[in-house]
């Protein structure tokens, strides 16, 4: 697979429930071998979109293509899906549940058993193989669920809020496991509201809000689109330049540096030039990259962003 292969192509997809439009004209691509962050506040339409991708529901309009084919039941076997709302059979042995989930993905018999043993070992849960769900802690159940999504060695992994309910140690552990997938050139889509995690893991992102795409692309592109007008400055002198409203729209003084928002039309280069001209001593001049969190809050408008 080359970097330019598209694993998933979503085109103008719309889904309505009665009068409510859950997903509105959504389009995006997910490239092969990349980790794709699907971001947005609660109720933005993330889960609805994911359900359409994995073939649980069908879009009212638009089309979804997976591995270059239109979504079909057969393609489901190439996806590993970890839903946000997840569960296991309460009174069934772990190994039996995993065998069943594997069989539903067309992996059975000795091959299934081999993979189950491998993954239980990998997740440090081998001794729980013959225990029932109710004997396991929440975090352990979460890991079992993760195993159930990867048993059939899917080419595309879709994880809806994969880290919720995990302690920090296990979050790191899961990130390591995901890194292995990345190495195998598998595509990972995960939805989260934890912007720090998304920032760490994702190559590409899409941010949706109120059923619509807000911003999307590679993490770099997205950030660049937001970083042009913010500058962190540590300098002595040059105050006259900084009070020029044609250049500086807003300035916040932090402990030992200033954060500057450029006025519209002004650019960082001319500000730097003017500061040097004015004889200021500059020890730091940096275009500030906004965090995903900043972008998220700015775009979603703070409300409903408790997520």
């Amino acid at each position: 697979m080359s970097e330019n292969d598209v694993t998933l192509r979503v085109r103008n997809v719309t889904k309505r429930f009665g009068d409510f439009t859950a997903v509105d004209e959504l389009s995006f691509d997910v490239r092969a071998g990349r980790v794709f962050g699907f971001l947005g506040p609660n109720g933005a339409g993330k889960t609805t979109t994911i359900r359409m991708i994995v073939g649980i529901t069908i879009p009212d309009e638009g089309k979804i293509e997976l591995f270059g084919e239109r979504m079909s039941a057969r393609l489901q076997d190439r996806i590993g899906y970890l839903p946000e709302e997840r569960g296991l059979y309460k009174k069934m042995k772990i190994v039996d549940q995993l065998r069943y989930f594997a069989a539903l993905k067309d992996v059975s018999g000795a091959e299934a058993d081999k993979r189950i043993d491998f993954w239980l070992e990998r997740m440090n849960l081998a001794e729980w193989k013959n225990k029932k769900t109710t004997d396991l802690s929440k975090g352990m159940q979460q890991k079992i669920q993760f195993i159930s999504t990867v048993l059939h060695n899917p080419d595309l992994l879709i994880l809806d809020e994969p880290f919720s309910g995990l302690d920090p140690v296990n979050v790191e552990f899961m990130i390591d496991v995901l890194a292995e997938f990345k190495k195998q050139d598998k595509t990972v889509i995960f939805s989260t509201h934890l912007m720090e995690t998304a920032e760490r893991l994702c190559h590409d992102i899409i941010l949706i809000n109120k059923a619509k795409k807000v911003v999307g692309g590679s993490l770099r592109e997205v950030k660049e689109g937001y970083c042009k007008n913010r500058i962190a400055l540590r300098a002595t002198g040059g105050n006259a330049v900084l009070s020029d409203t044609k250049l500086v729209a807003k300035m916040e003084a932090h402990a030992d540096e200033k954060e500057i928002e450029l006025a519209s039309g002004a650019d960082a280069q001319s500000l730097l030039h003017r500061l040097i001209e004015s004889g200021a001593t500059i020890t730091k001049f940096e275009q500030v990259e906004p965090s995903l969190n900043d972008i998220f809050i700015e775009q979603v408008g703070g409300h409903d962003s408790n997520a």
Partner: protein, 450 residues
């Protein structure tokens, strides 16, 4: 198809590999066997003899009473009672046990006691002392004025709870006193017996081939079949509902739906649980056959069950076929309910209508037993919801023409197709709706939108 089979296997194992299934399956034949075998065992146990003193200064009653209480007479009476009870369903198992027990414990030992020249009070206190010192178990005082209509007999027993001895003495005494009064009226014993001989009405049905059927045993067998199907349908319907609700409640449905088609999943569930039900019924049918075989070799019981209708392998086939038809009708309804509600408790409230339908079907089977060829019997045995219970009963009572059976199968198969279609539409939407119970208009919308 492979996935469908995986679902079937999963659902089957989930029901069958459970100790409750084992318990339920074993318990039924064991309870059945107990009811059939325990009386036989009690037969063979002879109770301790009741030592009794009969004080009869007139010497008119005592000889007759002693004869009536002899072992032979009691056994003969007991066998008659068992035969009667087998024919009469209203006699509870308790009574049956009582009657069987009568034969067992019915041994009386008559203790001599010299009452000459003693007053009634003297006799009473002497005999009471004997009873207290456990030398006798009971005594009976026959009054001097036996002939008088208000003659009062006194029976005192150390074994206060011994209803068997009490009942037997009462019966024997009644017989003895009546005989004495008759003979006092110069009616001879022989004439008396001739005059008071019981009419022997042996009710039998005649089937279309002109063979006789014992209607009482038929009633019992038909009732048993109807009850068995009703209970199994109710149990397995609820199993389906619980399984559906579990997958919805735990959100497993979402994983399942991302792996296989909802229709495949629902049908797999219905078939898997259905096979589990069939397994259980199969074990029961086999154990009933074994039980009948056991009864056949027990000579003293075979008389009791001699009138059992002849059950052919074809009847067993029909029985299982109609069980399956009923199962799929009700399982589809329960699956539909399960995907509407959010918890098993909530489902329990909605389970009322289908359970009601089954119960009505079960009650209709009584009408069918009474008159298998009436038009009511015809209609209820071909209509969906009721046919799965009433048709097997009708087949056993009076096998209807093949076209009626075929018609019933056809109508019920159509009903299944319709209900499964409805259920699958509700299932695939309802299973992903969390948080609140679906309302009927919502469900209707899901069905129409599909």
């Amino acid at each position: 198809m492979r996935k469908f089979l995986a679902v079937v296997r999963h659902e089957y194992k989930k029901v069958v590999y459970k100790w409750t299934f084992l318990l339920g399956t074993l318990l039924f034949p064991i309870i059945g066997a107990c009811f059939a075998i325990i009386p036989a065992i009690i037969f063979s146990i002879k109770g301790e003899p009741t030592r009794i003193v009969i004080v009869d200064r007139t010497n008119k009653i005592a000889p007759r009473l002693k004869e009536n209480l002899s072992a032979e007479k009691i056994t003969a009476k007991g066998e008659e009672a068992v035969k009667d009870s087998a024919k009469n369903l209203s006699v509870s198992q308790n009574d049956q046990l009582r009657q069987s027990a009568k034969q067992a414990a019915a041994v009386f030992l008559f203790v001599d006691y010299d009452s000459v020249g003693k007053t009634a009070d003297q006799i009473r206190s002497e005999l009471s002392d004997l009873a207290v010192s456990k030398e006798i178990d009971a005594y009976l005082l026959v009054p001097d004025n036996v002939e008088a209509p208000d003659a009062k007999f006194e029976f005192l027993s150390r074994k206060a709870g011994d209803f068997v001895a009490g009942d037997l003495i009462k019966e024997a005494l009644n017989d003895a006193v009546r005989s004495q009064r008759l003979s006092d009226a110069h009616i001879s014993e022989v004439t008396l017996k001739q005059l008071s001989a019981k009419v022997n009405l042996d009710a039998k049905a005649i089937d279309e081939q002109g063979r006789e059927k014992d209607s009482d045993m038929l009633l019992a067998a038909s009732f048993a079949i109807g009850l068995m199907i009703y209970i199994t349908l109710a149990i397995y319907g609820q199993v389906i509902m619980a399984a559906v609700v579990e997958e919805k409640e735990t959100r497993i449905a979402e994983i399942l739906f991302s792996s296989a088609r909802p229709f495949e999943l629902m049908m797999g569930k219905l078939v898997g649980v259905g096979l589990a039900g069939l397994t259980q019924l199969g074990i029961w049918v086999a154990s009933i056959v074994a039980l009948l075989a056991f009864i056949a070799v027990q000579s003293n019981l075979s008389a009791m069950f001699a009138g059992l209708p002849h059950i052919t392998p074809l009847m067993v086939f029909y029985f299982l076929l109609f069980f399956l038809l009923g199962y799929f009708i009700y399982a589809a309804i329960f699956a539909l309910i399960g995907s509407m509600v959010t918890t098993v408790q909530e489902g329990g409230q909605f389970a009322f209508p289908p359970i009601m339908l089954m119960l009505i079907g079960f009650y209709f089977s009584f009408a069918v037993i009474r008159d298998p060829n009436s038009s009511l019997s015809f209609w209820v045995s071909i209509s969906p919801f009721f046919a799965p219970i009433t048709m097997p009963v009708r087949i056993l009572a009076e096998t209807p023409p093949l076209w009626q059976i075929a018609l019933s199968v056809g109508i019920n198969a159509l009903a299944i197709a319709g209900l499964v279609w409805l259920a699958s539409r509700v299932y695939r939407v309802g299973m992903l709706m969390y948080g609140k119970r679906a309302t009927i208009p919502e469900v209707w919308k899901w069905i129409r939108q599909g």
